[in-house]
Amino acid sequence: MKLIIRMMAGVSGPWTAISARHCVPQALSLLLVSLMLAGCSTSNLAILSPASGFATGQRDLIYFAIGLMLIVLIPVWLLAFWFPFRYREREGTRGHHPEWTTLPWVEAVVWTVPAIIVAIIGYTVWLETHRLDPYAPAPSQGTAVQIDAISLDWKWVFLYPDGRGATVNELVLPVGRPIELHLTSDTAMTSLFIPGLAGQIYAMAGMETELNFQPERAGMHIGRNTQYTGGSFPDQQFTVKVVSPEDYRTFLDRLSRNGSSLSEADYYELKMNRHTSPVREYSTYPNELFQSVIDTYCSSNCGRRQTEPGSHAPQGANPEGTAGGKA
């Protein structure tokens, strides 16, 4: 956060000095943005204060790319104010050289410098896209917690491992263990996103997608559907509680002692009741509920744990990728 503010301050500084005459409004608004960013505590900027290795790696990529691109941006900003000022029309023709229309080394520089920057970012993209692939298991020693998520109008149903209960609009996760979220949709296409914890992936009917991440600290997050689906789309959000492994076990125990079970009729009612829902907890859910939701839309060729597009090969953990990716 400090980094980005320093960058913006560095940009607006010389900028305002050189051409105060021409660019007061732009400079003001840039200043305004810096102030706004500075005014927000980082906790407001969920994406810049990540709580999982994946989210940290994703955020660091942002800083890295912005830093590199400033190599191009700062000269553009300086020249865009300096040239019109320096070469403005005035008495005499001082400095006017209409014949100056090409210079090979300048052309070479303007092609190669951006090309080199893009090559560097591109190389990083190749590595990081694989390291931060949402399908790749989070690099960790622990066994993954597999949770199924079903998107409905306009709520989420979460099914905990081994039939140990289900929740609506509430996701409880243990800290320090890899999470493997399997997604599908029982409505239009949606996208599950937990800012600060995990990037998003679409949930589509008749298909299964996957999101891997590992929470590093306990805390609360808001997850939501970001893909517009009409109606109460703005309300399709859920709380995410990242708790200690002990608390997670306590939660599962409480869930299994809860007594109320999610029957197929209950699920059907949840699905047809096209509103958001308060948090609900169930001790059991029908076997293979997740698969049967997929099968509703896909009678053939979509077996369990097969993903669309089918080309997706299981990704092994990158041996170098450690949790909490370094900048």
Binding site: F81, P114, Q227
Partner: protein, 655 residues
């Protein structure tokens, strides 16, 4: 099905007072215009000089008029949205979801298809034939048909406010949400048929511009002597020809799903919405460059003219344009990195996307170095151009961020994305169109635009842009998704209020532009362009009178150099050699293009409301008119012989 399909009294907008007020405003405005035309007795000249015209300059002006009207409508939508989001913390604001969802769908559709496309098509229409020394486009009749089809599409969108509702499925109409099971009713059908009808027009425009530039250049104008605006128009037309069929296909398939119960993109029954996303963006990404390349061409013309220098790195700029054109077809998947493709696929498309930043960066530096050692006149078009360069690179940088798949997983579907593409399309494309509008206005209308009001408009627009969209970047970092009718995060509201204030600045900018038009029209005597060359221009369009005669040039010029007109002015002792007497053939005016457009409108309307008999009749009418056109024995040429050719020569020699 009844006689009127699903049309009924309940189709009128009584569901929301705001929608009703909007509809009433629209109907009243239409009635007032009709009354004014009748009262002033303008019907006859309107039909004779405008509606029946096949003159590329007049068609261009009509495109600009359409773009202006739709800009007002699209901006009204933007204001309503900004106001709603500024208010709607833990409340429903003043717009019900049903209405808010229509508004953002209409805003996107209108701004892309019915504001930006007509704006750039209008400028290309007016300028390209003049820049290449042609008498008209290659297919003038087709040109008029394209315009009226675009108009028919726009009319369908405007009508949706009064009869029925517009789509609530966003401007991309992603299935399965846009399928009958989620959005029944005529809304999505309005979107489909408006896009299909206008898209047909755009495809034909692409063919027309492509053939015109390749076949109708003046003698001596080799490809590498073409002005840069013509080059960008050429690449844009190629993109139109190859990209628009993908849009036509995907919307037609969606129409089959919705109207005849097909299952291309449905949930289940073998449908697959991922195919739609691919098809749509195979059009959609080139479309971004269709919009932005002509603006790049305008900036090139403006910066060279007002720096009094030839463009720096002309060859680089041509190659950069062509490279962007080719690469634009290789990046569509970056619109849905989050669909679950493998890391290999995502990485390849991410890197391909970033590569486009290279030629784009080259262009920016070439424009900057064109100013270097120039003699710069800071006119309104130059203001837009410099404002563009400073602002556009921010959008470029955020674009590179979004092209990194792991970053896109955080920013996809957020208002950061909204800020990014507005950053590309407002300073990138729209500022360019405004620059081109003030630059070529004297050519089209014969008098210059008022500079003071033009610069006021610029300052209001650019200030408004920063205040309206920088907060959205910040909100994206806070995790705010796009298309939120209401929200419950108190931290978002101050930034959304700031954004709404930015929209008010932009409103002031638009008001300045309207005042500018009025003031310029009032002072048209003193702003009159008598020479045809008000800016000391460099290219052929400034060699003829303002406005040009219907045949553009008394004699088609022979081209000796890049920036031919500047070359002629600089080459001492240049005398244009007299050629053979010119016989000028002009195409005959026709009301058929308008009739075809009107029938397409009726056809679209009938398809939307399931009035099958009317749809069939409208379609047959179009076929009959096209057939009749094919049987016209008289080639429809009006022959004009120019007797006094010396006048044109004298003009060049004296300047």
């Amino acid at each position: 099905m009844t006689f009127l399909g699903r049309l009924g009294i309940d189709s009128l907008p009584f569901y929301s007072p705001v929608a009703f007020a909007g509809a009433a405003t629209e109907v009243l405005a239409a009635l007032m215009i009709l009354a004014l035309v009748t009262w002033k007795g303008w019907w006859k000249p309107l039909f004779r000089d405008w509606i029946a015209t096949v003159d590329h300059k007049k068609i261009g002006i009509m495109y600009l008029f359409l773009a202006g009207v739709m800009l007002l409508r699209g901006f009204a939508d933007a204001m309503l949205m900004r106001l709603q989001q500024a208010m709607a913390l833990n409340s429903d604001g003043y717009l019900p979801p049903e209405h808010f969802n229509q508004i953002f769908s209409a805003h996107g559709t209108i701004m892309i298809f019915f504001m930006a496309m007509p704006f750039l098509t209008g400028l290309i229409n007016i300028v390209v034939p003049l820049q290449i020394g042609a008498r008209d486009v290659a297919f003038p009749f087709l040109n008029a048909v394209s315009f009226w089809l675009t108009g028919a599409g726009a009319a369908l969108v405007l009508l949706s406010l009064v009869i029925g509702k517009f789509s609530t499925a966003g401007w991309t109409a992603y299935p399965p949400f846009s399928e009958n099971s989620f959005t029944p009713g005529p809304g999505v059908d309005y979107w489909i048929w408006a896009v299909l009808v206008a898209g047909a027009g755009s495809t034909m425009t692409g063919i027309n511009v492509l053939v015109t530039i390749l076949m109708r250049r003046a003698p001596g104008m080799s490809l590498m002597r073409m002005p840069l605006f013509t080059w960008t128009a050429l690449v844009t037309s190629i993109l139109m020809v190859f990209a628009f069929p993908a849009l036509t296909t995907s919307s037609a398939m969606l129409a089959l799903d919705r109207t005849l119960g097909f299952h291309f993109f449905t949930n289940g029954d073998g449908g697959n919405m991922m195919n739609y996303a691919n098809l749509f963006w195979i059009w959609g990404h080139p479309e971004v460059y269709i919009l932005i390349l002509p603006a790049f061409g305008i900036y090139s013309e403006v910066v060279a003219t007002f720096s009094d220098k030839r463009l720096f790195g002309y060859t680089s700029l041509v190659f950069a344009t062509a490279v962007i054109g080719v690469l634009s077809f290789t990046v569509w998947l970056h619109h849905f990195f989050t669909m679950g493709a493998s890391a290999n696929v995502n990485a390849v498309f991410g890197i391909a996307t970033m590569i486009i930043a290279v030629p784009t960066g080259v262009k920016v530096f070439d424009w900057l170095f064109t100013m270097y050692r120039g003699s710069i006149r800071l006119t309104t078009p130059m203001y837009w151009t410099i404002g563009f360069m400073v602002t556009f690179v921010i959008g470029g940088a955020t674009g590179v961020l979004l092209a990194i798949p792991p970053v896109d997983f955080l920013m996809h579907n957020s208002v950061f994305l909204v800020a990014h593409f507005h950053n590309m399309l407002i300073p990138g494309a729209l500022f360019g169109f405004f620059a081109g509008f003030s630059y070529w206005f004297p050519k089209a209308f014969g008098y210059r635009l008022d500079e003071t009001w033009g610069k006021r408009a610029f300052w209001a627009w650019i200030t408004g842009f920063y205040i309206a969209f920088m907060p959205l970047y910040a909100l994206g970092f806070m995790g705010m998704p796009r298309r939120m009718e209401h929200y419950d995060v108190a931290g978002w509201q101050p930034l959304l209020i700031t954004a709404a204030i930015g929209a008010v600045f932009i409103l002031a900018g638009i008001a300045c532009q309207i005042v500018q038009l009025y003031v310029s029209w009032k002072n048209r005597e003193s702003l009159c362009d008598t020479t045809g060359d008000p800016w000391d221009g460099r290219t052929l369009e400034w060699m003829t009178s303002s406005p040009p005669k219907p045949w553009n040039f008394d004699r088609i010029p022979t081209v000796h150099s890049l920036d031919e007109f500047a070359w002629r002015k600089e080459t001492a002792g240049f005398v244009d050699e007299p050629g053979a007497p010119d016989v000028i053939a002009l195409p005959k005016d026709s009301l058929l293009p308008m009739a075809i457009g009107a029938s397409a409108f009726i056809f679209g309307f009938a398809m939307i409301w399931h009035i099958w008999w009317l749809a069939i009749m409208a379609l047959l009418t179009i076929l009959a008119m096209l057939t009749a056109t094919g049987f016209t024995r008289d080639s429809g040429l009006r022959i004009i012989r120019i007797e006094n050719r010396d006048a044109a020569r004298a003009e060049v020699a004296s300047s």
